[in-house]
């Protein structure tokens, strides 16, 4: 029997000769990651265990991005825990405010996540790096503590689900719509404990930013990891990284022809229109055109899902020369400093500001109801983020609709959920 790409990467990180789904393994990690919310617990556990040094100071990454720049004193204290630990352990991959970005946008951008890597992160959206042909998955703080101490993580080898997409995408339809459509199909626990392997000619032609958005939301279907086999697009992406943080270009793995999948789903995307996930689950997906007269108070464009340069370019295309509706707060947050600078240089920042929007320094901020755009009671937002659970962006009686950046920008102009074609 053959192996899937996920099984091959896992196997390569153990001392075993063979593995099968359901089996428990201790896998070597190439990278482990924490942020200002999850790392403080991990650091406490690490220090409590009496371990003196992290297993490899080059393989630990700390990014204060959730409540940073620190939103209050308690958050400042949490960020300080990271800075102190990084200093004491000589961790180079600590990214201070001004150099940090939203972690899952930052790591691929600087080449810390490469094809074939096994990456764990104390953040559920760590599954993002599967877009590069890596195995990456979200874990808890204690897992991070254990990985920092031993360089290993216990994992249960997941069964794999294959998602095959056929056809050319329509205008204004992107990776975000593909993944929302998929979650809408299988539900928020449709891939629970499983690997989600995305393939087919649609994926082969899909730009890296869209692939990252897709793998990013594998967790929203309960998936352990999302993964896309490396190809020319992957190669181009990795080769274009300047001053790579890690040597080499990774290692390519591919699923065998006789690999075993517990489920195979095929989608014809030619008729797929832009979609939104309605409150309060990412699986509550409807075509934008079917959601009529839903007025909004806020639009957020950013996050580890859709805060990359191409996302901002799409939003700017819609917003150029237009204004956000007078009663709508438009908040645009580039995911990294590099993206921020490029957006300024390309004139995107001016377009957003001219449209009456806020253009902010990188932070996870509003996505998780942290800061920089919290919703009041009864308010409603359209966001390019990844979750729309009860109270996710603020008050428990506020609502979030998830969309791609084009729909978010069009909705800002109209003051209600809108299709990009209503504006362009």
């Amino acid at each position: 029997m053959g192996y899937t790409i996920t099984e091959k990467i896992l196997l390569a990180h153990t001392k075993l000769k063979a593995i099968r789904p359901g089996e428990f393994i201790d896998a070597k990690v190439d990278l482990c990651l924490g942020n200002d919310i999850t790392a403080p617990f991990a650091i406490e556990e690490f220090e409590k265990s009496g371990t003196k040094k992290v297993f490899d100071k080059k393989k630990v990454v700390l990014v204060p991005d959730h409540f940073a720049p620190a939103k209050d004193m308690k958050s400042a204290n949490q960020c300080k825990v990271l800075a102190r630990f990084a200093d004491k352990q000589e961790i180079k991959n600590y990214f201070e405010v001004g150099r940090m970005g939203v972690e899952h946008a930052l790591l691929p951008e600087i080449g810390l996540a490469l094809p074939g890597d096994l990456i764990i992160g104390a953040d559920s959206h760590t599954c993002t790096y599967g877009a590069l042909g890596a195995f990456s998955t979200g874990v808890g703080s204690t897992d991070l503590a254990a990985a920092m101490a031993t360089g290993e993580c216990w994992l249960r080898v997941p069964e794999s689900m294959k998602f095959v997409y056929h056809g050319k995408l329509n205008k204004w339809v992107g990776g975000k719509d593909l993944i929302l459509h998929t979650i809408g199909d299988i539900g928020v626990d449709g891939a629970r404990y499983r690997a989600m392997e995305f393939c087919g000619e649609t994926i082969e032609n899909l730009p890296m930013d869209d692939r990252l958005a897709m793998c990013n939301m594998a967790i929203e279907a309960g998936g352990k990891n999302g993964i896309i086999a490396p190809d020319k697009i992957t190669e181009r992406f990795v080769k274009a990284i300047k001053n790579k943080a890690k040597p080499g270009f990774g290692r390519k793995y591919f699923s065998d022809k006789d690999a075993v999948y517990c489920d195979v789903r095929e989608y014809d995307v030619r008729k797929l229109e832009p979609v939104v996930a309605c409150p309060n689950l990412p699986s509550n997906v409807k075509p934008v055109r079917a959601v009529k007269n839903v007025s909004i108070d806020q639009v957020v464009i950013g996050s580890c899902t859709n805060g990359r340069l191409s996302d901002l370019q799409i939003a700017a295309k819609i917003l150029k020369g237009k204004k956000a509706k007078s009663n709508v707060r438009l908040i645009v947050i580039p995911a990294t400093q590099k993206i921020y600078l490029e957006a300024v240089q390309e004139g995107l920042a001016k377009i957003f500001i001219d449209a009456g929007g806020v253009f902010s320094t990188p932070t996870c901020g509003p996505c998780l109801g942290g800061h920089m755009g919290i919703l009041a009671e009864g308010e409603r937002a359209v966001a390019t983020t990844n979750r729309n659970f009860t109270g996710r962006m603020g008050h428990p009686a506020s609502e979030v609709y998830l969309s791609n950046p084009a729909v978010a920008a069009a909705s800002a102009v109209k003051g209600r959920i809108a299709h990009p074609e209503e504006v362009i």
Partner: protein
Amino acid sequence: MAYKGRAHRFGNDINTDEIIPARYLHTTDKAELARHCMEDADKDFMNKVKRGDIIVAGKNFGCGSSREHAPIAIKAAGVSCVIAESFARIFFRNCINIGLPIVESEEVAKAIRARDTVVVDTHSGIVKDLTAKKSFKIEKYPPFMERIIKAGGLMESLNKRKR
């Protein structure tokens, strides 16, 4: 180990934002986290819950964010065990890693009613609903997880191995 308490029922897809909202994540103080446990799913939960009580939920309990603050808040709130039809995977592993007992069983989670008194014995693999006078067999943890649980958590189990 056996855990005895009254059941508090929740529905499907209870996510970690509801278990412990992000607005309280700027601390590692377990008692403070416990004060807001389940707040966005049931804002009176902390007034109702008593030490030893048991949470019973539907499918996909603990979905969403990886925040270990969620099982930590539940444990620090005095909840002795969580029974659900199914668990989201990161929440599941966090419970194993911090030593919060969990039972994954569709049959048991569906049968227990709110406020029933329940006894969970993970060692013998039996759950008893004393109020309804019913008894259920549950699967034991796989040996790999049993080792972590027996040691009292992942870090403790690694320390044992080191010694």
